[in-house]
Every structure is written in structure tokens, then in C-alpha cells.
């Protein structure tokens, strides 16, 4: 057991229940003005602090607009303790997720703004790059799609999961391109197929096979012969058609409507959906045997809000490619809101935003936050404020904790000080101090707890 003295540097966050927070090495990466600025590693021992400011003596020197000489202090996180940022009385303040804060914990995805600088806290820092043909992102996205690089050249069926707008079709095209398959790549949204026609559309039909079939159709499978077929929202297919799909995969042949003989096909199948197919199986919407047959490699594309560091680079790329050279500049308040937005429709939403800004604000030379749609300002969780430890640890305690409460908590936790202080919401350090002044016999309490 550590002594009270030995614990003088234990942080406030130690009072958190153990295991509640996985220790992810986080980093603060700057997205504005330049993504090339060195990132700030946030993993540490929970003690080290870094100063941020305009001063030459700052650990992280930020030059540019609106940064005070001594702007903020970063307390590095440790296992079980997230990093914390504190305002050092800066003129323009510290903002986390769009809110001014005096001090705040930095969770993954937190958007930090200090004056003219905007950064994002991420567990996967890395350069923004074209991770697959036509697909741009940082390390988080690159890690996600890494398995596809190895699987692309095979004819393994793939499952792509991801929210709408996360780039499932782009990934499918990239895989197709990389696979070297000679045939075409076709993408079919199964949710959009009329239920009665789904089978005909997929597998083809003979002329006169049904009313209105005034000429034959090869269907999507045969159209994609030698290539790749993406079936998006595959769990929306009727179960009866799922059964036929299974047969196609097993036999490598399709049975067009009205045809007597099945037709062999060579198609690489990629199925996709917003939800996990396993969940669709549980809900009875997707055949388990079909899942087993298509699940060669499964990749879940991360939503944009889980890779906020990619938002501005994506925005800039879209702007550069869509604007014909005449693009506005963006200010830090704009960037902050852009990054802090949750992007429920992901990149598609971003594309639409760029298009909209270009049409409506073509004449603006600089974009500010006010140019963004109003609803984009909303973001559910505001950062959890914590007391600045460095200033006054004693005075920082929100409520006085009485000795009886501590003893009770210690009893309840079999004399485990960490757990007891967690129950009371105080630091372990503080618990030790209370005990020290009041002759609490920890050993006795522990023995009490034993049968």
C-alpha cells in the first residue's frame, strides 16, 4: 500500500472506477492552419504538463492569430486518466467542442481551439492521404481498410459496413480496381429494387418471362460478368431472394427468369449495409447461411465523427476539386464548427455542404462560422469540466467529505482506498489525507471485510 506522501501526485482522475476508460495513446493533431504542424502526444504519466502559447518558452509554441503568450496548459493523460487542458487566463480562451472551457478533459474526437488554431484529439494520428483510389483519409481510415488491400486480389466475397455516406461504394470501386478483374463494376442498391422485380433485376430474364418483359435482360449478375457486383443494403432483399443469392454464390451460376438452364457467372460479390449483418441475422432479416457465405472479409468504415481530424482536409480537397480554382479561405471559427459537427450523413453531407457553400457564398473570400447552416452548431455532449488540479487541489474539492462517509466507503470497498475514493468522487490523495489526520486503521477495515 502506498503511503500518503507517495501519492501526492495522484490525479483527480484516479478516482474513476478502474477499467472504465481504456488507455489509448492520444494525440492532439492540428488541423488548422496547417496539418503539417507537429502533433502533441497526450500520453504520459498523468503528471507531466505542457504549456501552449506564443511565448518562446512555451513547450508548444503557437504563432499566428489570437494566441496568448501563455495560453493553455495540457496535463498529459495516463492509463485511466484522460488528458486535461486548462486555460491559463488567455485572452481568447480555450474552446473544446465549440464551448469555452476553463478546463476540460480531452476525449478522443475532442475539438480544441486556441485562438486561430484548431486541433483534434485522436487515437490514430497520421497523414491525410489517398488511402485507396478515390478514398481520402487519415490513419484511422487507413487502418480500417487495410485488410481490403490484401483481400482485393483474391475473389473472396467482402462485407462492407458503414453508415450512409462513409464511402462504401468508393471502397468497393477501389477494391475492384485493385483486383484487376477485367469485367465491369456494378453497384446496386437493393433497398431501391422494387420487391417484385428484385429477382428479375438481379438474375435477368428471358423475353416474355413475365408481363412487361418485352425484351430479355441479362440482370446485374451477368452484366457484371468478369467484374465486381456491389449489393448495397443487402439485408433489405426479401428472404426468398436471399436464398437464391446463396445458390448463386454456391454454384457460381444464375437462373434467369424464364430460362430453363442456369447460366454460369464469374462475379466477385461485395455486400454492404449500414448496419452490421450479424445484427440483421439476429433480427431475422438476413439469412445466417448467406452471411456465412459472404463473410470473407468484413470491414466497418468509420463514420466521419470518429475521424474528425479528416474533416477539414476532406473539406479542403472537395473545395479545391469542386470550385474551379476560385476558393474562399476559411477562418478558425468555421473550422471549429466544421470539425465539431457530428456529420450524421458523413462525407456525403460534407460534399453537399461544399456544393451549397459554393453556390450560396461564391463571392465570399473568407468563410466564417456564420456561413454554416445553423443546425450544424449543435452537438450533444459538452465537455466534462474538471477542476484544475495544479492550482489548488484542496480547495478544488466540490464538497467536503466527512470522515464517517469515508470510513463507510472504505468498509464497502474492503479497505480499497482507490475504490472508496471513487465512490465518494474524491481523489485518492484526498482520502489518504483525511485518514492521516484521523487515525483510520486500514488494516482493521480490511479484516473487517473478510469473512
Amino acid at each position: 500500500m502506498r503511503s500518503a506522501e507517495g501519492n501526492t501526485t495522484v490525479t483527480e482522475m484516479d478516482s474513476r472506477p478502474f477499467g472504465a476508460r481504456p488507455a489509448v495513446p492520444l494525440a492532439l493533431v492540428w488541423v488548422f492552419p496547417l496539418a503539417s504542424e507537429p502533433r502533441v502526444e497526450l500520453a504520459g504519466d498523468g503528471k507531466r504538463t505542457l504549456s501552449l502559447g506564443r511565448d518562446d518558452s512555451s513547450d508548444v509554441r503557437l504563432r499566428g492569430d489570437g494566441v496568448s503568450r501563455q495560453h493553455a496548459l495540457l496535463r498529459l493523460g495516463s492509463a485511466g486518466a484522460p488528458p486535461v487542458i486548462e486555460d491559463l487566463g488567455s485572452r481568447n480562451g480555450v474552446r473544446v467542442n465549440g464551448e469555452p472551457v476553463r478546463s476540460a478533459e480531452l476525449a478522443p474526437g475532442a475539438v480544441v481551439r486556441l485562438g486561430g488554431w484548431v486541433g483534434v484529439v485522436t487515437a490514430a494520428p497520421g497523414a491525410f492521404a489517398e488511402v485507396a483510389p478515390g478514398l481520402w483519409g487519415g490513419a484511422a481510415l487507413a487502418a480500417c481498410i487495410a485488410p481490403l488491400g490484401r483481400a482485393a486480389a483474391s475473389d473472396l466475397p467482402l462485407v462492407l459496413e458503414g453508415e450512409t455516406g462513409t464511402g462504401k461504394e468508393v471502397v468497393a470501386r477501389a477494391v475492384h480496381q485493385q483486383s484487376g478483374r477485367p469485367g465491369p463494376m456494378l453497384a446496386v442498391n437493393c433497398a431501391a429494387l422494387p420487391e417484385g422485380l428484385a429477382e428479375a433485376e438481379l438474375f435477368g430474364y428471358r423475353r416474355g418471362a413475365f408481363t412487361g418483359a418485352d425484351r430479355a435482360s441479362p440482370g446485374f449478375f451477368r452484366s457484371a460478368e468478369g467484374g465486381t457486383l456491389l449489393l448495397d443494403e443487402v439485408s433489405d432483399l426479401p428472404l426468398s431472394i436471399q436464398a437464391k443469392l446463396l445458390r448463386v454464390l454456391e454454384q457460381r451460376e444464375v437462373q434467369p427468369l424464364g430460362e430453363v438452364r442456369p447460366v454460369p457467372v464469374d462475379v466477385r460479390l461485395i455486400v454492404a449495409g449500414q448496419q452490421s449483418l450479424a445484427k440483421a441475422v439476429q433480427e431475422g432479416r438476413f439469412r445466417a447461411d448467406l452471411l456465412a457465405r459472404v463473410e470473407g472479409v468484413t470491414v466497418r468504415l468509420p463514420p466521419l465523427r470518429q475521424r474528425r481530424e479528416d474533416v477539414l482536409p476532406l473539406f479542403s480537397r472537395l473545395l479545391a476539386t469542386m470550385a474551379n480554382g476560385n476558393t474562399p479561405a476559411v477562418e478558425s471559427d468555421f473550422v471549429e464548427r466544421l470539425c465539431a459537427h457530428d456529420w450524421p450523413f458523413n462525407v456525403r453531407e460534407l460534399v453537399l455542404l461544399v456544393r451549397r457553400l459554393l453556390v450560396l457564398l461564391g463571392g465570399e473570400s473568407t468563410l466564417h462560422a456564420v456561413h454554416l447552416p445553423e443546425r450544424m452548431g449543435e452537438r450533444a455532449p459538452s465537455p466534462r469540466s474538471v477542476e484544475p488540479r495544479a492550482t489548488a487541489p484542496e480547495a478544488a474539492a466540490s464538497e467536503p467529505v466527512e470522515l464517517p462517509a469515508l470510513v463507510a466507503a472504505l468498509r464497502a470497498s474492503n479497505g480499497n482506498v482507490a475504490r472508496a475514493s471513487a465512490l465518494l468522487g474524491i481523489t485518492r490523495q484526498r482520502a489518504y489525507r483525511l485518514m492521516e489526520g484521523n487515525a483510520v486503521d486500514l488494516d482493521a477495515l480490511r479484516q473487517e471485510g473478510e469473512p
Binding site: P33, S36, R63, R69, N92, A320, A329, E331
Partner: protein, 480 residues
């Protein structure tokens, strides 16, 4: 800082340069006017800040850059002439003393320049930069503030590239202390690779800057929009320059193409060298005399009225010369010993300060009675015109240029009794072809008639601490 800087007045450094006047101070040190004790010629002496001089690496670099700059043989470069270390350990560079205005100031006054003049100025800058490139020196901080426009005797422009090496020095200094935020200064003329802080910034970055400068001379706008340092920086690093054709109508298509090539995002897509860029501009270049810039009233000028002491040495000289050019002879000792038969001197330096601008204000009002505290007659207009005051920071910027032994150009002879200016008009009298140029000037937009443009920009950047910025490294950041 100024007080500390001015302590050198009267000192003789390097055994022969007597410090006669404080000119400006910047983040890296301060600049004084000095007179050679033997040859009686004016120079400008730049001192490296003693704190910086203590860093050995910096000191070595400072000296190496001085050597390199000294080796530059181009009429388009304001070269360093000497180097030394003072008794108290402050290294200094001795520079030419120049008369003229920075391109930045000229642009403020003129709004935009005609393509014929803009291309010629940039072509000359290309020559100066090419000479440096040939020696393996990359400027890396080219901007209108660093290009100085002098007037030859015949009224044609002579452009001098300033501050070679200082930019590099600055970079070194910051890279040592900085872990983040390495990009400093005005980003508007920075090449994308430079803005992104890439290590290997080569000649292409200077070509880009020259392109950006030409872009601004022609259109009055910067190639990348943005109201703040960071917004501009971000735009440069992620977006192409706003097409010149959409920033400025009526330009020759070919010229637009040449400028946009220089502004290509990838260095390999730009003209292969500064020289090549200069050549590409040839079809539009017109070498002829231009009217002297007309200085407008600025707030700084008005403030400057209170300190008119510096006018004293200038006034009689300008009066004596009345030379039809900006490069009026202006040194009192010239007047004193006034030898009309003396061989022509390439450049004269005219360091003025805010007070001269005050004079410019008066003159530009066309014969209004002079401000009370300005005892200078209207004939001094040319003198006023050669002085540059950065009105937003209230600092004066004098630039050095000295006669160079090999200076090939015919230049304004000092105090050689040029025709007296037509005082009655009260306009800057030193125009060669007064009538036609005056007409041209009248049509030229003045700062006041250009809503937005410069001043608006400054509005967002200018609440900076009024740090003097001789070396241009003083950044225009807003104080938090």
C-alpha cells in the same frame, strides 16, 4: 527596444563607420545610418541583436549570409558591403543606402500598376533573384516590402531586392526554439511547399513569390484570400491561387498564363528559374519613365508631424537638387561640398521617417499652406516621396543602398542643379514629363479611393503590437 537600440549613436564601429542616426529596429536587431569616417559616404549598418549574437550558430550564419550577399553582383540586389563585430560583441552588416520606396508602399499609393510597369519591376526582381540563385542563395522571403524601387535619373525604375539572407537567418532562429508554428511573417507570398513547412524549399519558392508579387501588382489583390494569417496560410497550403483572370479583368491572356504558371502548386510546374520567369514577361515589359508616386495622407503621417526634426538635413539638399527624380541628392555633406562635377553616384539614400510623410501629405494637398511644424518648402516633394512610412505601425523604414564601384547605370547626380521644380503647382515637382504623368496620376486610384483593399486587410492584422519590423520578421499577428 528603441531606447536600447539608439544607444549606438555616435559610436564608430568597425573602425570606420560612424553611427549617425537610428533608422529602425526589428526583431533581429536594429539599423542605423552611418557615415564612413574616411571616404565620407553614407551607409546603413544592421546590427544583429546581442541576444541572438550569443548563439554561435546564428552568428556564423549571419556572417555567411553577409558574405553571400556581398558576393552578389547584380544591380538589382542591394548588397552587403562589409561585415564586422563591435567591441561589445554585436555583429553588423554594412549595406548600401538607397533612395526610393518599397514596392509595398508604391502599391499602397498606386493601387495597381500598369502591366508594362509591373512586369518590368518583376523582371528586374527576377534578375536580382537569379543572381542569388546562381550563388545558391534562396531568398525565401520575397514580398513587396523587400523589393525597393529606386528611380534612375531618366525616371525609369530600378528595382533592388533587399534582405537576402535575413529570411534564412530568421528561419534558423525559430527552428531552434519552435516546435510548432514554424511559419512566420506575411504568408501571402509564400509558396505552398514553404507554407507547409517542408524542409526542401528551393528556387521554386522564390519564383512563386515573384509570381505572387506580380499578381498583386496587376490586380491589387493577393493571390490567396483570407483575413488572418492562419486563414491565408491554410488557403495557400490547400487551395490553388484565385485565378488571376477572375481577380482582374482586361489583362492579356498570355500574361495571365505566365503569372499563373509561376503560381503553380507544384514547384516543377513553375518556370524553371527566376530568369525563365523574367524572360517570359518580356512581351509585356516596357522600359520607360514613370511618374513619381504621389504620397497620400495617412494617420501615421499626421502623427509624424510632431517629429519633424529629421527633416532638417534633408530639406536643403532636396532644395538644392530639385532633381527630376526620386533619387534626389540629399545628403547634407553633398550640399556642403556641392561639387556638381563629381561623378554620378548610383544611389542615394534618403531616410526620412514619418515626418517626411507629413510633408507628402501637405504636398499632395496641392499648395495648401504647410503644416505649422513643417518648415519645409514644397520643393521638397521628391524628398518626401522617397521616404517610406509604414502607416499602420508607425515605423519608418529606410533602406540602404550605397554607391557600388561597379554600378553600371547612369544615376541621378547629386546636387547637380537640376531644373527647379514648378513650385506653384505644389505637386511633387520632380517629374520628368510633368503634364502627361500628372494626368496618368490623376486617373490612378489612390488609397483613399480604393475601398477595402489594403486598409481593410490591415484592419484585421494591424492591432499588432507596434513592433518595428525592419527585418520583416516581425509578424503582423494580432496581439491576443
Amino acid at each position: 527596444m528603441k531606447e536600447r537600440a539608439e544607444r549606438r549613436l555616435g559610436e564608430v564601429v568597425g573602425g570606420k563607420y560612424k553611427i549617425t542616426r537610428f533608422l529602425a529596429a526589428g526583431g533581429m536587431g536594429s539599423v542605423y545610418e552611418a557615415q564612413h569616417t574616411l571616404v565620407k559616404r553614407r551607409f546603413a549598418v544592421k546590427f544583429l541583436h546581442p541576444d541572438l549574437a550569443r548563439k554561435r550558430e546564428l552568428l556564423v550564419r549571419f556572417q555567411r549570409e553577409a558574405e553571400a550577399a556581398g558576393a552578389l553582383e547584380s544591380e538589382n540586389v542591394a548588397a552587403a558591403l562589409d561585415f564586422g563585430v563591435t567591441g561589445d560583441g554585436a555583429p553588423f552588416i554594412v549595406l548600401e543606402y538607397l533612395a526610393g520606396v518599397s514596392l509595398e508602399r508604391l502599391l499602397e499609393v498606386e493601387g495597381t500598376l500598369p502591366a508594362a510597369r509591373a512586369t518590368e519591376l518583376v523582371q528586374q526582381a527576377c534578375r536580382g533573384v537569379q543572381a542569388a540563385h546562381a550563388l545558391g542563395i534562396v531568398h525565401r522571403d520575397l514580398k513587396p516590402h523587400n523589393l525597393f524601387v529606386c528611380r534612375r535619373e531618366d525616371g525609369t525604375d530600378l528595382l533592388k531586392v533587399l534582405d537576402f539572407g535575413v529570411a534564412k537567418l530568421e528561419t534558423l532562429e525559430t527552428s531552434a526554439a519552435t516546435r510548432t508554428g514554424t511559419v512566420l511573417g506575411t504568408p501571402s507570398y509564400m509558396a505552398p511547399e514553404q507554407a507547409r513547412g517542408e524542409k526542401s524549399v528551393g528556387h521554386g519558392a522564390d519564383v512563386y513569390a515573384l509570381g505572387a508579387i506580380l499578381y498583386e501588382l496587376l490586380s491589387g489583390k493577393k493571390p490567396h484570400p483570407g483575413a488572418s494569417h492562419n486563414a491565408i496560410l491554410h488557403h495557400i497550403s490547400t487551395q490553388p491561387a484565385v485565378p488571376l483572370a477572375s481577380a482582374c479583368e482586361g489583362l492579356a491572356e498570355g500574361l495571365v498564363t505566365v503569372v499563373e504558371q509561376a503560381l503553380a502548386a507544384a514547384p516543377e510546374d513553375r518556370p524553371a528559374s527566376a530568369e525563365a520567369f523574367g524572360h517570359a514577361l518580356a512581351p509585356w515589359v516596357e522600359h520607360r519613365a514613370w511618374p513619381a508616386p504621389k504620397l497620400e495622407a495617412t494617420p501615421a503621417a499626421r502623427e509624424g508631424e510632431s517629429s519633424s526634426t529629421e527633416l532638417a538635413p534633408v530639406a536643403p539638399l532636396a532644395e538644392a537638387s530639385g532633381a527630376p527624380s526620386l533619387a534626389v541628392a540629399s545628403l547634407e555633406r553633398e550640399r556642403e561640398s556641392s561639387h556638381p562635377q563629381r561623378p554620378p553616384r548610383p544611389f542615394i539614400v534618403l531616410a526620412g521617417g514619418a515626418s517626411l510623410l507629413a510633408l507628402g501629405l501637405f504636398l499632395s494637398r496641392g499648395g495648401a499652406p504647410p503644416p505649422q511644424r513643417s518648415p519645409v518648402p514644397p520643393a521638397l516633394a521628391p524628398a518626401a516621396a522617397v521616404t517610406e512610412v509604414s502607416h499602420d505601425e508607425g515605423r519608418s523604414r529606410d533602406v540602404a543602398a550605397a554607391p557600388r564601384a561597379r554600378a553600371p547605370e547612369p544615376v541621378a547626380p547629386l546636387a547637380t542643379g537640376a531644373p527647379a521644380p514648378p513650385r506653384a503647382v505644389g505637386l511633387p515637382a520632380a517629374e520628368p514629363a510633368a503634364s502627361s504623368h500628372r494626368a496618368a496620376r490623376r486617373s490612378a486610384p489612390t488609397p483613399a479611393s480604393r475601398p477595402g483593399a489594403k486598409r481593410e486587410n490591415r484592419g484585421t492584422l494591424a492591432d499588432a503590437p507596434a513592433a518595428p519590423a525592419l527585418f520583416d520578421s516581425t509578424n503582423p499577428y494580432r496581439a491576443p
